[in-house]
């Protein structure tokens, strides 16, 4: 089976910390940061190596803060 690896880039300044992306991640690699951005929101970030670049998080993000990259390995 061809494996895919993905990664996400988060615009931490625009993230409002709504956490909608967390339950939709099939590999549970998204978590909220303990840090806050300049507006005081905890932002989401990638915490594991298992991201597949499925785009689920980016598709549901109301503020469109997530950019997804994917490669076949």
């Amino acid at each position: 089976m061809a494996k895919v690896k993905g990664t996400i880039v988060v615009d931490t300044e625009t993230c409002k910390g709504c956490e909608v992306c967390i339950p939709v991640c099939p590999t549970n690699v998204i978590a909220m940061s303990a840090k806050v951005n300049s507006k005081g929101y905890n932002y989401m970030n990638l915490v594991g190596e298992d991201c597949t670049g499925c785009t689920n998080c980016a598709v549901v993000c109301p503020d469109g803060v997530i950019t997804v990259y994917r490669v076949k390995v």
């Binding site: 990664t7 339950p23 980016a58 950019t67 997804v68 990259y69």
Partner: protein
Amino acid sequence: MNIEMIKPENLVYTKTKLMTDNALSYCPGCGHGTAHRIIMEVIDEMGIQEDTIGIAPVGCSVLAYEFMNIDMQEASHGRAPALATAVKRLWPDKYVFSYQGDGDLAAIGTAETIHACNRGENIVMIFINNGIYGMTGGQMAPTTLPNMKTATSPYGRDVKEMGHPLKMTELIAQLPGTYYVTRQAVHKPANVRKTKKAIRKAFELSKENVGVCFIEIVSNCNSGWKMRPNEANIWMEDNMFPFFPLGDIKVDGQLITK
């Protein structure tokens, strides 16, 4: 995070250029942002940025023109379908859509909505239904569910006293002027993708001048419902969807019988 992966050739998803860089004025987790983005993605994919005119409503999405990088016009409260009618009749070749919430479309704008649908104007109408007046502080709206607590119905909506919720989408599906009527949601990836397909279909149909294409998006209002965004999405699945079932209601001018 793997830094080597971040190259333009590996890019699979990013925010469309048709959304401006202004920070959205919506509460965290609000479905408006997702709805805005998928409409802009459809317009981007169809390559009709210069041929689309949007009509912004009054309500939470009153500043929609600040976020959508297309030509837009602000309408008076509830009058977006009337303004969309005028724009479409003056520019028959343009794609015209109205974007309204439930307080705008189903309360003050009921007459404009029903008559625009009945006249069969060739516009796309996007209706965001969250069952509450979100912008003004969570008061009861025409679409508020029975026994739902809001700022103006603190003991729950009593249908004997306050009337029944209005199923606007079923109502306008009965009218001969509507061609494609559907109800979707944007809280899960599968729903977002379905909604995007529905919006794409509506925009394509609006070019064929077949009548009103009406898309209701059942959305959350976590601030108005006093819940966290994910709790609000679960509450919406448990309570809103039984009353406002998702799916197509009218396709190709024919009502879907279940």
